[in-house]
Each structure stands twice: as structure tokens, then as C-alpha cells.
Symmetry: C2
Subunit: 472 residues, 2 copies
Amino acid sequence: MSYAAITSSVIEELQAICGRDHVVFDDEKKLKKYSRDQVPEDKYARLPEVVVMPRSAREVAAIMKLANRETIPVTPRAAGSGLSGGAVPIYGGILLSIERMNAILEIDTANLMAVVEPGVVTNQLDAALKPYGLFFAGYPMSEEFCFIGGNVAENAGGGRAIKYGVTGRYIRGLEVVTPTGDIVQLGGKRVKDVTGYDLVSLMVGSEGTLGIFTKIVVKLLPRPNARVAVLSLFRDAEAAIAVVPEIVTAGKLIPAAIEFMDHFSFSMAARSLQETFPYDQIGAVLLFEVDGSDNGLVRAEAETIRRICEHRGAIEQHLADTEQSIERLWKIRKQIPWAIKRYTPHQSIEDIVVPMAAIAALLPKLDEIGRRFQTQIPVFGHAGDGNLHATPMKNPEHTLEHWDRMLPDLLTDMYRTTARLGGTISGEHGIGHKRRDFMGLVMEDAQLDMMRKIKLALDPQNILNPGKVVAI
Amino acid sequence: MSYAAITSSVIEELQAICGRDHVVFDDEKKLKKYSRDQVPEDKYARLPEVVVMPRSAREVAAIMKLANRETIPVTPRAAGSGLSGGAVPIYGGILLSIERMNAILEIDTANLMAVVEPGVVTNQLDAALKPYGLFFAGYPMSEEFCFIGGNVAENAGGGRAIKYGVTGRYIRGLEVVTPTGDIVQLGGKRVKDVTGYDLVSLMVGSEGTLGIFTKIVVKLLPRPNARVAVLSLFRDAEAAIAVVPEIVTAGKLIPAAIEFMDHFSFSMAARSLQETFPYDQIGAVLLFEVDGSDNGLVRAEAETIRRICEHRGAIEQHLADTEQSIERLWKIRKQIPWAIKRYTPHQSIEDIVVPMAAIAALLPKLDEIGRRFQTQIPVFGHAGDGNLHATPMKNPEHTLEHWDRMLPDLLTDMYRTTARLGGTISGEHGIGHKRRDFMGLVMEDAQLDMMRKIKLALDPQNILNPGKVVAI
């Protein structure tokens, strides 16, 4: 890949496009802010040469035309809350931050659609929708700070996918600036649309490599009136996991969430929040949420769950039916990645996903891998979707060199194990550059080749977020 | 486009691949069966040079490799129940029928997934799932004869999209033979997967132009125990349409279906079924279905609908809560296209879709277009999705030449009107070759160009279903 360097005349052009205040190039402290996402290890970070903060699709298009003319790589960035390095400018060049494009443009209650700019914080949209009795069912766990644009770029999942699906299900329209600087309107406020190829779905989850979103049309749902959460503590992981398919098949209900936390994840998170539990008896924990329009039905569903868990040997269960008490339970779950991060920066939060019923077979294999590599692998995540954040952590007794040398082998082992169970390497965090070179473990060349061809058909100079998803 | 003719040595190769019994080339009566789909007018039909009926992905791949070597166009075909000419071999060549690939390979109750071949009839899958208390929520109106493979190729919609979405939502994995003859496994039994570009969604709705499906992994849902249908008769269309957004917003419920039938459609269909209604008082009719796991809740929702319709002036309402009585109401709705077809073969069943709340503005405009072109345009379809099958019919007083000359102008007018209301030209029937040349009315060149680039990236010789979706 041979890209041009940023010259002072390029800087001047960028300033003319976005305004002087919205171009950063000589302030290393500011540039550093844009050098990484939430992947903790330094080796995945890289300083951009210049950061631009456009305010409109027209400005974004002008930047892309300039970048094409000069062969400069452009890396789009939303909140930087990603977990695969997708927003890291690994070839330097232009970092295009959409942070100033952050307006909620329209809440259309008649069509149950919202039109937003990509820099809107997910929770801000939720707060704006609440008075209308509506909600956006995409629910990444970082909703307090992630941007809708990033959610769409990564096709963010989260805790409610088993019932509500992931972000993509709710994206009906996109205004996109193409890699070559055209502005196109894909989809719209239609709930059905088969007019040509589904470019909206192709853009969703393309990790900023196929286009930059400048407007997003989001489908809304009536906000559920009733919510109940159930936290169920089990003596061992097998008993907990056996509950999951039983809820759906025997219980005949699809909860909004079924979260899994192993002993290590749960204890570390709950302890750091000063919660009291019989930690030494707990092998694994499930957190359920059920929601709906009818309070009686939702309570009955929660009771079905409680009963199934009891039957499967739950040693303690907590029901929560107020917003505050429900959030208290979720807080434990959301605390886990932070607790792990505080424990060590030398860790790799993974995002493997298997068919739901294969989790029972996956867990002991993860244990085995941990033992083989003599390292702790806490496991937590979305049991209802088969999506587990197994997180290998550096053994304090190992050197950093050992950890760096070992990790790729450990991940190869984990990914191969996952693939053998019908799974794959990312359920919601994406590939970015962190997992790019592992793609061949779960996909034939012919499939990777299709991705390469599509990328180069739309971005012939490979300048939009190069080096991500698939090696060109 | 310059394609090679089929030589006798090509026929021999095809026979070697599929077996002599599964290659048809010298029997015009048999070839004719494969010359059209459900578009009635002859001008959209074309005889294939040869029909092949492969039994496996390997055979399909061998056919594509041969076709690439010889530059022969290949048109894949499922049940031929399409409504846009998608399965018509407009350049002759090879018609590839997947009718023999019709096995239900697996019903995986632990993961709520089924694996099927593309030639399985939609209702056959439903019947196979019923004993397990499961269902496939894709619900095209032709489920008695359409094939799952065709549903996926067209991203079929149907009557239940407002609640359940369309076919694509349930397609988790595909085995695909690419235009160049590779066999790739896309997705799988995962409910979440962001490992690379979403090629599954790109394939869904690509109308057989980007790949041929040889295996389909379908997500299943627990079968709703309770169903109630409500048929509500109104004096005029405005009153009926005003109900639709009110159900969702004020009623706070998402029915499984909200179907609209105008006076002409409803009367023609119901009369042909010997049903008795006060036809001269009816301006428009809505058919609702609500379903769910709780009988009481479903009945309460049906009652909410009944009350809102009554408040909006419904002159007569019929509730149905047994499978038989519900099917009787749906039968009227499903009868409409057949009744229109019997009325005249010179008609054009359209598939326009607008944002749900724009239907009220669209209906009088369709009336206006009918008056301007002095022709009847019965309107029926999926009001809950904004997807209406407005069907211009030849005025018996006009000549066939007049109709042929007039129709493109009428359609241009209808599509422009739809686009101005935020709509587009196809919600579920697809583009095929019937609507291909109208794409420019609702899409900028840049977007069409993206589609062309993707098509040529994956099918450089443009041999897989050429001439469909977008002109190359």
C-alpha cells in the first residue's frame, strides 16, 4: 500500500473545507486522543497525521474527493468505543471524526422512525424517544457513550439481541458518502424495500470501509411498559447453561436478554461494586430480562424463568421490577470489562459466537485452553445469542514477551475451537485490524475474495479505512 | 451483451453434469413451462435454450464454470411464482431450475434453526415445523407453491412484515454457488455475526444475479398459540387508512398483519368466493391479524383494534379465532390477484411502498392517475407496511396498442408520485426485468453505479441472470 503524505497544502484545503477550528494537525496531545479505541494494548494504536471534524455530508464528500485525488488514507471515527481497532488510523493520514454531526433531526411518530446524524450518543436518542413512548431497540452495552454511527458501522449487538436482533434490524435508511466522494441516499422510511441490492445492509457492519454515514433512519418500536429482571446464581456453569435453551424451547418464551457471567467475571465485577453475594458458592450467574406491553404476562414469564432456574438448581435468585433495581443488576454485568481492564491492561476481550446450543460444549473447551496456556480466561456475555466475551488475561507470573508471543497461538486455538462448533470469531465487536489476519481461520479464500472484490469495486484506491476487515 | 449459443457439445457436458433425464432442450412444450413467471403478459416471457435440473451444489458449480468458460447466460429459477420476471431467461441460454433440490435437511430444535434446500415449498416447511411448535415467520402470500429459495432471492415480504419483518430477517446462513462457480458457506446457525461484510444480506433479495443458493439456514420462532383475525368494513378508504397508524401509536400494539383492500379488489374477490357482504356500502376493508403466546392478551389486542375501527366508523366487523375461520378471511385477500387476472390478462400488478403514514396521501393520488389515464387501478396490499399492490388494468374500451403505449407513462407517473412521498417502486416483488428501466426514477446514478460495480465485481462476464435488477 503506498499512500501520499499530508502536505501543508492538503492541510490548507482541509481547513478550507471544514474551517480552521475543525482541523487538528500540530497538537500531539489532541491527535493522541484519536489514536486508539477501547482496545487497551498500545500496539493497536497509531497517531493520525491530521484530524478533521466535518459538519455535513457535503464536507465529508469534499474530504473524500481530496483524499482520492491525493491518495491519502481516511479513517472514520465515531465515539472510539470500539473493541477491534476499527477506528485506528493504522496508515496515518486523515482521521475523520463525525463528533460534530450529532443532531437528532426528526422523531417521526406517525411512521415510528427517527432520523439522526451519526454522532448522536445512543442514550441521548433513547432519552429523546422516551416522552413519545418509543424506543430504539439496538442496545449496545456502551450506550452511555457510543455513537449511533459507530453502532451502525459495527452492527453493534449487545444484551437484547435474542429478542430484538442487532442494530442492523432497525436501520432503514442511510445517507452515505462513498469512498469516492459521492453522496447517496440508501433506503428510507420504508419498512419493506427490495428496490435493487440491499446496500443498507451491506453498509451496516462494514466498519467504515465502504462508506461514511452522514444520516441514519432508525426504525422505532413502542416502548415496553413492563420489565422484569432475574439474576440467578448457580453452583456451576453447566447447570446455568443448560437453562438457556430450555427457557426458549420448553418455556416457549424469548426473553429480551439472557446474560452469562462465570465465577471470575461476576465476582470481580460485583465485588468492585460492593455487592454482597455468597461468592464462594457461585460457579456461574445468569441475568435475564423480560419485557412487554402487558405487566401480568411479563411477570408470568419472569416466574417461568425463575421456576426453570430453580428446577436446574439455582442457589439464589433476585427479581427486580423497578427501573432502579433492574439497572443495579445490569450494572454488575456492565462492570465486568472495566473490572478486567483494571485487573490488567494485558488482556484481549474476545467476541466469539457459536450456535446457542453449542455454548455448553464451548465452555469446558475454553477452560482447557486456559489451562493449556496457563492463563485465566474469564467468560461473560450474551448466552441467549451464543456470543461470549472470553477474555484471556496475562498471567502475572509470565513475562510480557511471553504473553505477546503466546496470545496469537491462544487466539488461533480459541477461534478454531469456535469454528468447529459452528461458530465464528466476532458476534458484535467486529474485525477491525485486531482480528483481520485471523479471518482465514473461519472463512474460505473464495469468501474473503468476494469481500475484497466488493471493497475494491467501491473503493478502487483502497483509501477508506484501509487495513480493516480484510487484507487487500 | 454478447453471449455464445448453446452447442451440442455444451448440451452433452450439461448431461454429463446433471444426468440425461435432467437436461431439457428439444421439447418445446417443456421449455415453455420455464419461459415465464407469474407476470401475465407475453412480452415479458422468453424460451430458454436448455433447462437443467441439478441436484447438488457441486452440479450447480460445474454448470457455472462451464457457463463462464463458454460465456453462456444462466437464469436460476425456483417455483416461478415471481411477479417481476426475475426467473425469465431473457437472453435465452441455460435455465437452471432448483426444483430437485427440495429436501428439508435438518430441524434443529435446540438452536431454533432449520436447514433446507432452496426448492422446499414454503408451506411444506411450515407443516414440518408445526409438530415442534415452531414456525418460519417469512410469510409470502403464495406460500402454498413458492419455494424458500425464491423467497430468499426476492427477499419476499407478505402479510406479516409489520410485526415479523420480511424473509431476510430469518436467513442466518446460505450455501451459495458464486457466478464464477465457487461454493461458499456464508453465515451459519449464529444469531449474531459481524465477521466481515454481511454477504448473507447482500445475497438476500439479489434476485439470482449474485449467486445461486444451494442450502439455506432459517431462523425459527416459537409458534404463537393464539391468533385472532378481524375484518373491518368501512364506507370509504380515508376512514380505513386513518386507523392504521392509530393502531400502532394510540393502540400501542403491532399486529401481525394489517391488510387493505379497496372496494373493487374486495368485492371482486369476495364475490368470486360467494361471500355475502353489503358490497354497495363498502368503500374499503381492513383485515387484521394479531397473534402471540397468551390467549387473553391476543383477544384484548383484537378488541382494541375492533374498538378503534368502530370509533373510526367501521360499518361491519367480523372476528375469527379458529384456524378455519381465520383462513376464510385471508382467502378473500389472497383471491384478489387471481380475480384481477381472470378479469383481464392486460394488467400490471405493482408493488409500490411508501412510509406507512403516507398511504393516506397516496390513495387519492392513485385515484387521480386512474382518472387521468382513464383506467381502473384496484388497490390492495399490506397497509401496515405501506406496501400497496396498485394494479392498473386495461380499459376494455381501449385498444391493446393504446394500453401498451400508455402503461409506461402511467407507471412513470405512479412511481414518481410514490417517490415524492418518500416511497419506492418495489416493496417485495423485486425489480427483475419488468421494472429495471424504471430504477432511475427512484435512485441517483451513483447508487445504480454501486450496484453495477458490485455485480461486475462478482460476475465479471455478467452471465448470472443478466438483464435483471440493474442494466449493466
